[in-house]
């Protein structure tokens, strides 16, 4: 992994993809090295499959270059690229048997019959399907079809094998087996694998490199240990593994305040008194006597998980999850101790204490003390406020004043939910409208990557007349 730079096979530079006005990939850069197992991990709709299709040649990026072994291959059709794909639904040819399916690529290349026979045989033994040559593909189980699909792609001897959630359709046990087998196949064939999945466990188990994607951008690239132990932001921490994510303040280098307690950590360079996100993995919290730790809490729930107990602890209004092999009964007060190394400090994904936006007063009613304002092409009424018509207002709202309109009637329609992260006591939700991002606090779980109507509670709002920007 730490080899010289010249072993890069595929490199994506500044790739931008837009579909019907929606940004799918937002200027991403990615390098794929020879012989590595690279996993693109992200929730559905994050652009991971799109990235794969760009490498495969099934989709042309709107901007950016795709390089293959140093040469630009934009516009090159799939059949001219030295990459092969294992499709999500396997896409085996139903009119051909196992042998012919695997031989398909070589028949196209018109290889001699003996060689085709030899290579198919070799491949079948690699994927552990010896003697299945004459079977109809429809008579194979999911796992077997999967292996035929892998053999069919690998037999073409590609430089890079692209796999699009290939284990998604298999049951858990088979999936575990196939994970191990895939890794074996990858090592046997010395081919670079680019593996797309939304399953973080799969990604951590198999990969040399994990690429975490969200909303069309790459959040982090690193080894499985890197992404797990040192996530760059709350999204990555939340997506990979279980985590306690809480708000904190970086007082100074190596000093952080969590829930009013000052703790020691190892991170530097965040400045002074900076609001940050903090991740502490459930297994990194040591349960000690209350007097031995700064953070204390009461056990509210205990679940036996086989290897460990999962305890939920309430500490100053915040919910903590602890994994421990020792069980503390519900109701006991415990101390939570974390060594400085295990406190991971991250920059906030969206730094804002308040949501500030501009609104134009388009009509006002002095008698009823109401105004009608226009924000991002949406018009609505605000009660108990009066400003003259034509005024441009600067309105500030705390995150708690925002909500998602359950009845479907909001002040701003079709706001995109970019991320939902549980912060111990409430969900912190980042929303995106046409013109800006919003920070919302909510006690309800919301579905990411959906469009919702956003509602404001103007009783908590601060109004200011925007200076010098009177728009007509």
């Amino acid at each position: 992994m730490a080899e010289a730079k010249n072993d890069i096979i595929v490199s994506l530079r500044d790739i931008f993809v837009e579909f019907e006005g929606e940004v799918i990939l937002n200027h991403i850069n990615l390098d794929i090295r020879d012989k590595e197992f690279l996993t693109i991990l992200g929730p559905s709709g994050c652009g991971k499959t799109t990235t794969l299709r760009i490498i495969g040649g099934f989709l042309e990026p709107k901007e950016g270059t795709v390089n293959f072994e140093g040469k630009k291959i934009n516009g090159l059709p799939p059949y001219k690229r030295n990459v092969n794909t294992v499709f999500q639904k396997y896409s085996l040819f139903p009119h051909l048997n196992v042998f012919e399916n695997i031989a398909f690529g070589m028949r196209i290349k018109k290889l001699p019959k003996n060689e085709i026979k030899k290579r198919v045989k070799e491949m079948l033994s690699i994927v552990d399907l010896k003697g299945y040559e004459k079977r109809s593909v429809s008579k194979l189980s999911g796992g077997q079809q999967q292996r035929v699909a892998i053999a069919r792609a690998l037999v073409c001897d590609p430089k890079v094998l692209l796999l699009d959630e290939p284990l998604g359709a298999l049951d858990l046990k088979l999936r575990k087996n196939m994970q191990w087998e895939l890794k074996q196949i990858q090592q046997k064939t010395d081919t670079a694998f680019v593996y797309v999945t939304h399953d973080q466990e799969e990604a951590l188990t198999m990969s040399d490199t994990v690429v975490v994607m969200n909303n069309g951008v790459i959040e982090q690239i690193g080894t499985p240990a890197d992404v797990y132990n040192e996530p760059v932001n709350a999204f990555v921490a939340d997506f990979i593994g279980e985590a306690n994510i809480i708000n904190g303040t970086m007082i100074d280098d190596c000093r952080v305040r969590i829930l009013g307690e000052e703790l020691e950590c190892v991170d530097k360079g965040f400045g002074q008194n900076t609001p940050v996100d903090i991740v502490i993995r459930p297994e990194d919290i040591e349960v000690v006597k209350p007097e031995e730790a700064k953070l204390k809490g009461e056990v509210t729930e205990v679940v036996f998980k086989g290897v460990h107990y999962e305890m939920t602890v309430m500490c100053k209004g915040c919910e903590w999850i602890i994994h421990s092999t020792k069980c503390e009964p519900v109701g006991t007060t415990i101390g939570m101790k974390v060594i400085p190394f295990n406190i991971q400090i991250m920059n906030k994904m969206f730094l804002a204490e308040k949501n500030t936006f501009y609104a134009d007063v388009i009509s006002s009613d002095k008698e009823n003390n109401t105004i009608t304002v226009k924000v991002e092409d949406c018009e609505f009424e605000i009660e108990n406020r009066y400003f003259e018509e034509g005024t441009r207002l600067e309105i500030s709202l705390p995150p708690s004043a925002l909500s998602i309109a359950g009845d479907g009637v909001g002040h701003i329609d079709d706001v995109y939910i970019e991320s939902v992260i549980f912060k111990g006591e409430h969900n912190e939700i980042i929303l995106e409208s046409d013109e800006q991002k919003w920070l919302m606090q909510s006690y309800v779980d919301e579905q990411v990557a959906t469009y919702v109507p956003l509602k404001f509670d103007f009783t908590k709002a601060e109004f200011k007349i925007a200076e010098g920007k009177n728009e007509t």
Partner: protein, 264 residues
């Protein structure tokens, strides 16, 4: 074997409207006017052998042209977005909402001397008679039966997963090879049912040739139509021969159709 009760109405229907008429035709083909057994009708039917062959020939050519035209149409249709697909299906279906005879009359008007097509051609300096020949008959048949070729082809092709086409491209096939190695073999069931749906009715069709063709272009369907009232026995004999010929054709075709068993 136990019969299921709900099938009874269909059995009655089949007996009354298919089996009994068939037996009547069989009976009248093998008898003479007086109802005694005779092969006279068949020897008379043999006199129409040339018409018979010509009908099969015209049907064959029309089917072939339909297939050549319909195949790309169906393929292009099947690769469109869902709503475009529906719109195109609708457009293909619309002519079928109109009466069969009216459509033939429409062609008659279009192609007649001094009609729009003729006038246009004469502007270009081409003077020819468009009606009253085999070409016009084939044109009429192709027009009549094209939807019956497009629709079965389309319905089979629409089921071909785009993933299969992408997989073929991924494995090194260009567009032509994708067609030859994936789309064509998977569309064979559609081709078989399309041919059946066009060839069978066009071999036995009548009126098209009477209106669009010349005196010598009449088809076997027209012959049956014409002589049935005067000589029921010969008419029945010809109908029977035609049926057997089509049956043999269908059996042969089904051998190809069996490849769909592999395609499953």
């Amino acid at each position: 074997m136990k019969l299921k009760r709900p099938s009874i109405p269909y059995i009655i229907w089949m007996v009354v409207f298919t089996m009994i008429p068939l037996l009547l035709i069989l009976f009248s083909a093998f008898t003479d006017r007086n109802g005694t057994f005779s092969l006279e009708a068949f020897s008379k039917a043999f006199g129409y052998f040339d018409v018979f062959l010509r009908s099969l020939w015209i049907a064959f050519i029309s089917t072939l042209i339909c297939l050549i035209l319909a195949y790309p149409i169906a393929y292009i249709m099947s690769r469109q977005k869902r709503n475009v697909q529906n719109a195109l299906t609708m457009i293909i279906m619309i002519p079928m909402w109109m009466n069969f005879l009216l459509r033939i009359y429409a062609w008659l008007t279009l192609l007649q001397n001094g009609g729009p097509v003729d006038t246009m051609l004469s502007f270009l300096g081409i003077h020819t008679t468009l009606l009253g020949n085999q070409g016009a008959v084939i044109l009429g048949m192709v027009y009549e039966y094209l939807p019956f070729m497009v629709l079965p082809l389309y319905s089979v092709m629409a089921k071909i997963d785009n993933g299969l086409i992408e997989a073929a491209e991924d494995l090194g096939s260009n567009k032509i090879k994708v067609m030859r190695k994936v789309v064509f073999p998977l569309s064979i069931p559609g081709i078989v049912s399309g041919i059946t749906m066009v060839f069978v009715p066009s071999a036995s069709t009548f009126l098209v040739a009477q209106y669009l063709g010349g005196v010598d272009d009449i088809m076997i369907g027209d012959v049956i139509d014409r002589i049935f009232w005067s000589d029921q026995n010969t008419g029945s004999a010809i109908a029977l021969i035609l049926m057997v010929a089509i049956l043999i054709f269908l059996i042969i075709l089904n051998f190809f159709g069996d490849e769909e068993a592999i395609a499953q």
